[in-house]
Structure formats: C-alpha cells, structure tokens
Symmetry: D2
Subunit: 127 residues, 4 copies
C-alpha cells in the first residue's frame, strides 16, 4: 500500500486499531496528543541541530539520514491522525479548506518567491 492507493481513512483506521488494541484511548486525549505531537516534532528538529540550511540539505541526500527523518515524521503523523480520530475530524476536508483560505491570504502574485521575515506577525500559519 502506497500513498496512491491508500485513503486517509485507511491510515486513520490502522492508527485507531493500534490504539484500541491496547485500550489506549484513555491516554490519547486531545491535550495529551498535542504534547505528544510537539515532542515528536522536536525529535524531528533535533536531526538538524546546528546546521545551516545548506548542510541540512546535503545531509538529506544521505539515504540513512533521510530514513531516520522520515521515521520521526511518521511519529508526528501517527499522533496527528490519532488526534483526528479523537476529535472525529475529517482530515481531508479540514486540510483542503485550510489550503483554500491560505490561497486567499497569500495571493501568488504578491507572495511568489517571498517568505515572511522576522517580525511579520499576524501571518503565523502560512509558508
């Protein structure tokens, strides 16, 4: 099963089964899961400790290091899907609707090739 033939519901279902088989729903509360996601996100960052963007890019051409990063990302996504399960939230609907709003907030003509700088507050959740 690859991304081409796996629905988001398939992945969510597998995560839900893993959690249910251990009776872990009691621990997978939204609050706890938000902490778990943040902890895994930090482990992801930890792979790029003191590197410049260039050094990090070079490191990512190493297959083993790339696999290690992919593995941490999987943890982030697993907890993220478990939170979607806990909230009975449709991931696809929410993600697509967020992307549409971001398209309004960041018109291509204005933002092409441009990133937010230090102190560009207010536009917190975009690229």
């Amino acid at each position: 099963m690859t991304d081409n033939d796996t629905t988001v519901a398939n992945l969510r279902q597998r995560v839900a089964e893993f959690v249910a088989a251990r009776d872990w729903e009691q621990f997978h509360t939204p609050r706890n899961l938000s902490v778990a996601i943040a902890v895994e996100a930090a482990e992801l960052m930890e792979h790029f400790p003191w590197l410049t963007n260039e050094q990090a890019a070079v490191a990512m051409r190493d297959e083993m290091k790339q696999a290690a990063v992919a593995d941490e990302l999987a943890d982030v996504l697993i907890y993220g899907l478990s939170l979607a399960n806990a909230l009975s939230m449709d991931v696809s609907t929410t993600v697509l609707s967020k992307l549409e709003r971001n398209e309004q907030r960041f018109p291509t003509e204005e933002w092409r090739g441009r990133a937010r700088g230090v102190g560009d507050a207010g536009s917190r959740t975009a690229g």
Copy 2:
C-alpha cells in the same frame, strides 16, 4: 472530498501545488519544515494551557473550540505533508511500517491499559 475518498497522494499533491504556485520550495527545506511543524504543534498545545485532562475534555465538546483545534492540526499536517514531499517519502509505507514495529514493541497483553510513566526512558515514540 472526505477521508473516505481522498488518497494520501491526493492531499500531498494539493500541498505541493500550493507551495509550487508561490515558488516556496526554496523555503520548504527539511530543516525549516521541522521548525514549522514544531511551531504549529505548540499552537495546538496552547489550546489546553492550564487545564486538567478533564477540563480539556469538556472544552472539546464545544464545537467552536473543537474546530479551532482541528484547524491547528491541519497546519501540522500540511507542513508534515510538505516535508514528505521534500523528502520524496511515501507516507503510507512509512506510517504502516512504523505501526508494525510499534506492535512488536508494545505487545497487547503487556501494554493493554498501561501507559509509560515518568522516567520510562527508551520507549520514547510509543503511546
């Protein structure tokens, strides 16, 4: 489009188009995306600031608050999918393989209803 009829590849494709239309691949490096995921994860945690698990659970029954949390989770997932794109990583394969390894590490008979406690180091990435 809901989770039942959306493949992971569909979602990834939409994120990739959003990024490409703004020529933002240059900013969406693995290092930068790991920071972006961590920032969004913190915004997720921020919804449960000083609450007990019980108070957080009550709050999640409020539809508006639940929608706000879902919205932050969408941000985490969008950056996560963008990182998968940057790494050319198959999300489904990696997530399913991680779940299989976690099934080995956390046999149901031993872990049912049991969570890791303070100082249970070594088992960092499981429920």
Copy 3:
C-alpha cells in the same frame, strides 16, 4: 555557589566561557539557540508523557525523577542564557519589566485562582 550568592551575570559568564572555549559562538546564533531551547523544552515535557497532573505530581516526589527533570531544565536555562549572551540582553531588566507588564495585564482581584481556559486567546504569555 547557590542561588543566594550567584548573580545572573555569574551564570551568564560561565555559559559564555564554556561556549568560547569551544569556539561555538558561530553555532550559537539566535535562530539555532531558539531551536535548541525548544528541543530541550520538549525533553522536559517528555518526562510527563501520558500522566494526569496528579500522577505527575506524585512522580515529582521521587527524588531521582525530580533530579532528571531539574537536569533538563538546566539545559533549557543554559541555552536561554547563551541566547541572552548572543543578544547582549540584560536578563534581569527584561524579566522584571515583563513581570511588571504582566501585573498590569493580570490584576490580582480579577485573576486570583483563575486560569485561562481553552480559546482564551490574546492572553498568550501569562499564567
């Protein structure tokens, strides 16, 4: 040397010497240090993975676990002091001025015994 006879400048000086002896100022940029602080903060959180506030409180009565948490907090503070050094920022002035502003924002009559709840946006940096 204990907190009673150690000035903030003493601690900062020791951190600066540690960094300079390794020629690590080049890595201790504000951006890198902000990531390092976040990583250490996550390791701090990781000590309370799936516990209720009550269970976490019980665990903190265990001297060894308390020492482990103190050790992680030291890491957060070391990087924090290094960032103060990198910014030539006076910690005491900034902390005391922030506390004064928070005293205005959170008058005791109004906030005694009361915490922010889910969705109380706008008051992000207070207790």
Copy 4:
C-alpha cells in the same frame, strides 16, 4: 537592577511573588510548566520562520526585532524559574554541575569549532 547586582534567588523570588499573589501555584505544576516553556520556546522560534542563519543575524541588528526576541526569551525564563520554584531546585548548582559534565563530554581539543551533525545521536544536550 541589572544582571550584575541581581542574584538568581532575587529573580526567583519575584516570580514566586507574582504567582502567589494570583494563587496560581495550583496551575504551575511541573507538567503544566513544561508545556508553557515549550509554547514560549516555539514563539521564540517563530521569530525566525524561513530565514537563513545569515538573514536571521541581520534581523537581530534591528533593535525592535531584538527587543521582541528578548521579550519572548523572558517568558521562557520566567516559566523556567517558576518550575525551579515548584521543584525547590537550586538553579545555580544544577546549571554549574551540568556545565561541568558537559566540559567532560566535550573536551575543547576535540570539539573546538566543531558542531554535531545530522544523526550524531547520543550527544543530545550539548552545543
């Protein structure tokens, strides 16, 4: 009061008074404070969203931006000092002892001018 004439105990005392005046000790549990520190650390990172290290360095020469970063760092430190209060931990002793251990782990001859790279696991808490 500046860092030269402020003891760590002075700062801790001011934080303790702020918390006690609002009867907030009940919220300032180790678990909650670890989350609060992580949230503030993320707000610190958010000041350097998509910048290279060079761009971030340039931004830090802008006095207003530097003040904004100092302000976020103050939040991290305030919660850190509150956690030290909650744990009855002596900050100076713990920080100095941690620096001594790091001096053993990172001998200057071996580590001068050298940072950890991607995948240098095991040396998680050092520069």
